[in-house]
Symmetry: C2
DNA sequence: ATACCAAATTTCGTATACAGAATGCTGTTT
DNA sequence: AAACAGCATTCTGTATACGAAATTTGGTAT
């Protein structure tokens, strides 16, 4: 019989809880993270909180003030741009690797995500649109079968989640995004590797511009 | 006056100490990491050791046994291949970004690394060759100016360090590598972006084959 | 001799305790 | 009134303590 882990460690739970609050905006940039306060809030001792903060620091979600303790890191345009440069290389690779590995059920899942994304655009539910965006690209990372891509991009999207929350207030901006998603995925299903990767590369390359110059 | 940090935290020092031992092979795959033992060895309490191990676990340098404690992760050919797939996308990007950003002193540093690499190949000092290899590629990541590339590839090379230690026992295998490094860098200095990135892509693409079929 | 069960020991995860550093508060001096 | 010195307070990093889980050991029964 398989000995499935009963519950995650407190460090892991604490880490995820804090990271969620940072990425969803409950904890805004500059907010000081008091270990005592967080420990009380999450009903754990300071020990798991301290470990969790150590990890968040290593991943640049919080920053040392030099003084005492850490604060939630600022949302940084430079970091956003760096991740998009990075994605311009990695996302097309993930597309290429995925094409050979897609199964029927993966295709169905992607179609569901695309439908959901479009529906949320219609309904102007910006947070749900962002989640669908994350889901779409994460699915492709998963399908790539490359553990490095999966792990690395998971973290990067956590940062993007922070950056994009602000920006996605502009409704309508994402309509074209979902048309592009669909085109990319159609090309993948059709096995057109060169076309799919080119579309993905363009998709990622254009995204930062759309955010700089949102024209509705 | 600048308040330079007097010393790194014990967690950080402990993390680096353990990671070094894993990557240099002092701690071999499968070795159990006892917190008590490590704490005694490093003259710290179990608390920093515990935090450090949590981080190493998240980065796949150690793995849970399901039982008690963690062991040094196996050197995994799948992981090696995944990183090289990844590098095939990222290293050319780093080259492209670096070309516009190289200063005289960077060029001198690269030349020094290349000279050192070649000398170590001649002297058949495989560990020093590996270090020069790491230095060469890390310099390009640095020059890219992209923080995500720098951080991500730093971790990935730690994994590669483990994989390549074994393999680099084959002397002579690396002679061509350093010729390629030089060609890549010459193209970079000459500002030939397309050529430099193409050479880097080929360089990374061929490396895993050279390791699978070493022919001296 | 081998297999099995229970006590003892190891060791991990988490909580709590402690020490040092940084901030703030208060009283005094100019 | 403003500024500074020094004490009190707060808070982090690290050490130690505690409880639970798991492995090992020793003994017994077959």
């Amino acid at each position: 019989m398989e000995t499935l882990t009963p519950a995650k460690s407190l460090v892991q739970m604490t880490y995820e809880a804090i990271l969620d609050e940072i990425c969803t905006g409950s904890l805004t940039p500059g907010t000081r993270l008091s270990q005592d306060h967080l420990a009380a809030q999450l009903n754990v001792s300071r020990q798991p909180v301290n470990s969790a903060i150590t990890m968040l620091k290593a991943q640049n979600f919080v920053e040392d003030t030099g003084r005492r303790g850490v604060v939630v890191a600022a949302v940084d345009r430079k970091l956003f741009d760096a991740i998009y440069q990075f994605r311009a290389a990695i996302d097309p690779l993930a597309v290429e690797l995925s094409i050979k590995r897609m199964a029927e059920k993966d295709i169905a899942e992607a179609r569901e995500i695309i439908a959901r994304g479009k529906a949320c655009v219609e309904a102007a539910q910006s947070q749900a649109v962002l989640q669908a965006d994350i889901d779409f690209h994460s699915l492709i990372y998963q399908l790539s079968g490359n553990a490095i891509i999966i792990d690395t991009m998971h973290l990067n999207w956590r940062h993007l989640q922070r950056s994009m929350r602000k920006v996605l207030q502009h409704p309508g901006m994402t309509a074209q995004v979902w048309s592009e998603h669909e085109q990319i995925f159609d090309a993948m299903v059709a096995g057109k590797t060169a076309q799919a990767t080119a579309l993905m590369r363009a998709h990622v390359r254009d995204a930062p511009n759309r955010i700089s110059n949102p024209k509705g």
